[in-house]
Amino acid sequence: MQRAVSAWWAAAAAVFLVLSTLLGLALGPVDLGLGAVTREVLSHVPLLGVETPFSGTEDAILWELRAPRVALGLLVGAMLAAAGASYQGVFRNPLADPYLLGAAAGAGLGATLVIAYDVGGDGGLDLRPIAAFAGATLGVAVAYLLGRSVGGRETTTLILAGVTVAAFFTALQTFVQQRNAETVQEVYSWILGQLETSGWTDVLVVLPYVAVSAVVLLWHRRLLDVLAVGDDEAASLGVPVARVRLLVVAAATLGTAAAVAFSGLIAFVGIIVPHAIRLMVGTSYRAVLPLSLAFGAGFLILMDLVSRTVIAPAQLPIGVVTAFLGAPFFAVVLRTTRTVGP
């Protein structure tokens, strides 16, 4: 059998990731120049003897403003794409995305509560990420426990439980939002997503969650292939199906919750990135998962680049950009390749 990820695709993923990172670092209200950024980055590599072309201000723009934002985009994009791919595998449902089991509704409720009641605002402490993280985790936990307690066909019941929890949390969120109409604008822009960071701290908070989640998901990539033949046959092949599903859902949820806590509810990435990869390289999760991490990261960095440059100095919510540019791109991929299911 061929290797899971061909050398060609591994190289393409690496090139795409490096290029989008350099573009993300170079472009913005101040154009730092692609070559200059490359030289600056290389100047930090010992023994190469490359001199930095940057002044103190440019250095600060690059490392204090842009780099954390690019790094956050990388983590969030990788996480959402990998979580989407994993959800699609574990639920054998092409429409599954990281928000399927109530993560988005929970995060939305958490963030809305904090924004509407201005919790922690006086102390200058931003509690939105913590509230969003807690809400997302709680939403999925409730959906999972509800689904498991019902029994029956597990994937279908879990999805229905997720729909139920999401509807309930969304109702609460809408209620809170209506009662505090003056904060609607702020809530709305949080929901559409943004990668505004307060520097490296956010990145360092998200990093461990995404790293652990990515490791667990990658670790299960072959088992996701086995689940493609259904719970029953997977069990007859010796796979502890319920445990695999729980571990994958838990890992994808923690990573997603950490990501959305800082990025808001960026839609669509978890669906189009894994599907575009499937259309191009095939359905085996041994290829889809690692490539989703790489292409998801690069994709979100580029989308963020568009969101902060196209109407500069104002910014477009990144969720609008991912859907506006991602949808036509996906339509083209869909038209030019054969149909492939998850």
Binding site: M1, A4, W219, H220, R222, L223, D225, V226, A228, V229, G230, D232, E233, A235, S236, L237, G238, V239, P240, R278, G282, T283, S284, R286, V340, G341
Partner: protein
């Protein structure tokens, strides 16, 4: 090799299998026959360790319920009635899935597993199918891939749940001949639920007739395939044609219509 004693299975409060007992010797082929809803599939699932059961099911002396999932999958391979076919998976990738119980929890298949999968396909005359997508196969080719996956699993007991129900008569025969040859040259033991009574009589060396979750008759085909038993349990009017040359055939007749005697 397989010893079933006093086995009962309850699903949603309904006793689907009751007091079932039989032994199956190494290399034997036991055919389960019976009307729809007789409990054949449930019995197979119990033997594979996929549903909880009362009583005892031992494979090579070991209680199935006490074996872990992986250990059970190394002893018993299942060919389900309607396998889930991921259409874009290649035949080779699909057959390699059969190696799962021989890999660690998160292990990936190595060269040896690929060799095992290829040789399983070759044994089933399916070597030419390796690179095809499952979605592009005919019914018979697909069933060959599913059988190859079970063979790659390298288990000593093969459970078949109506393995030929969606196939034309030629493909049915091919699949059953393949199973017979696996049994002959691999020492595989076969337990199969079978819809076609003629095939059941031709391929299995013993039959067990189930109805209402219980054993109604068992023994060599000519003792179980009788016009009376088939009328009672299937509600079917049949004629049994048996001779030295053709073996046994179950021919359905239209009830109430006198069959025309062939003009000599």
């Amino acid at each position: 090799m397989l010893a079933v004693e006093g086995v009962g299975v309850e699903l949603d409060g309904v006793q689907v299998v009751q007091e079932l007992a039989f032994d199956l010797e190494e290399g034997g082929w036991l055919g389960l026959i019976g009307p729809n809803g007789a409990g054949k599939t449930t019995l197979l699932r119990a033997v594979a360790g996929l549903v909880p059961y009362a009583g005892s099911i031992r494979i090579q002396g070991e209680e199935v319920a006490a074996l872990g999932r992986r250990a059970a999958a190394r002893r018993v391979a299942v060919v389900p009635q309607i396998p889930v076919i991921p259409p874009d998976t290649s035949v080779l990738e699909y057959v390699v899935l059969g190696r799962t119980p021989h890999l660690g929890y998160a292990g990936t298949p190595g060269a040896r597993d690929v060799v095992a999968a290829r040789s399983a396909l070759a044994r089933l005359d399916g070597a030419h199918l390796v690179d095809r997508r499952l979605g592009s196969l005919s019914g018979g080719e697909r069933q060959r891939a599913v059988l190859a996956r079970a063979v790659a699993q390298d288990a000593s007991l093969l459970l078949l749940d109506e393995p030929t129900s969606a196939l034309d008569v030629g493909a049915q025969q091919q699949v059953l001949e393949l199973v017979a040859s696996l049994r002959a040259d691999g020492g595989l033991t076969v337990l199969s639920a079978m819809h076609d009574l003629t095939h059941a009589g031709q391929y299995a060396d013993r039959l067990l007739l189930m109805d209402g979750g219980r054993e109604q008759a068992s023994g060599p085909p000519h003792e179980v395939l009788t016009e009376q038993l088939i009328a009672r349990h299937f509600g079917a009017t049949v004629r049994i044609v048996a001779d030295e040359e053709t073996g046994i055939a179950v021919v359905p007749l239209r009830p109430g219509v006198e069959s025309e005697q062939p003009v000599p």
